[in-house]
């Protein structure tokens, strides 16, 4: 079957290098942002999130940066490994309150070369 990775922007990196995946979001009122990783044939997995009152958040080998001025989000992966090869999506929370709905970007395919 077709892979979700077809038709996507692709970032190709060497194993051990750092990766930076970028995302532009659409609504200046969005207050919560998430990065997901989706491996072939699987559902998206939560990687890291950030709220709009922060501009940086770090996890294990990953860092998310938020620039609200230009509505830009980035995901940095340190020492990229073959297991990091996947499609990466950003998502913004456009609504608060009782029903949280996320708006997803179309994704970036990260290809790690050994």
């Amino acid at each position: 079957g077709e892979s979700v990775g077809l038709h996507l922007p692709t970032l190709s990196v060497q194993e051990g290098d750092n990766s930076i995946i970028n995302c532009a979001y659409s609504n200046s009122a969005s207050d919560y942002f998430i990065w997901y990783k989706q491996e072939s044939g699987k559902g998206p997995q939560f990687i890291i999130d950030i709220r709009s009152n922060m501009d940086k958040r770090q996890g294990q080998r990953v860092t998310v940066l938020l620039n609200k001025t230009v509505k830009h989000l980035s995901l940095q992966i340190a020492a990229t490994q073959p297991g990091d090869s996947a499609v990466y999506f950003c998502a913004e929370n456009l609504y608060g309150g009782a029903t949280n709905k996320l708006i997803f970007g179309t994704g970036t395919l990260l290809a790690v070369q050994p």
Binding site: K42, Q45, N100
Partner: protein, 111 residues
């Protein structure tokens, strides 16, 4: 960890069949969602539910309906499957103000 379980990984159905996709979550979440994912189009919201027996249309509800009789279960129904509904279907649930947890997806092929 929250688990969102979709009952089938792969399904093949015939045009005109009624198709049920089942999704169960085990963390008492109120909000549940159905998306479809297609190459080049990303994730598109079909329907969501914020409580038992409550449902709201997403961006592409045509040709689909949903059922939420119990809090843990959210079903997507294709009343009369068509070939343009061949897709990957993803269910998700959410705790308020946190991110979604997705199921592993159902790849549906309509022939």
């Amino acid at each position: 960890d929250v688990k969102v379980t979709q009952s089938s990984r792969y399904l093949v159905k015939r045009t005109g069949e009624k198709v049920f996709l089942e999704c169960v979550q085990d963390m008492d979440h109120e909000n549940m969602f159905w998306y479809r994912q297609d190459p080049g189009l990303g994730l598109r919201l079909i329907y969501f539910s914020y409580d038992v027996k409550m449902k709201e249309k997403g961006d592409i509800p045509e040709g689909y309906s949903v059922s939420r009789e119990k809090k843990e279960r959210f079903s997507l129904i294709l009343e009369s499957a068509s070939t343009n509904q061949t897709s990957m279907y993803l269910c998700a649930s959410i705790e308020r103000n946190y991110g979604y947890t997705f199921g592993s997806g159902t790849r549906l092929t309509v022939v």
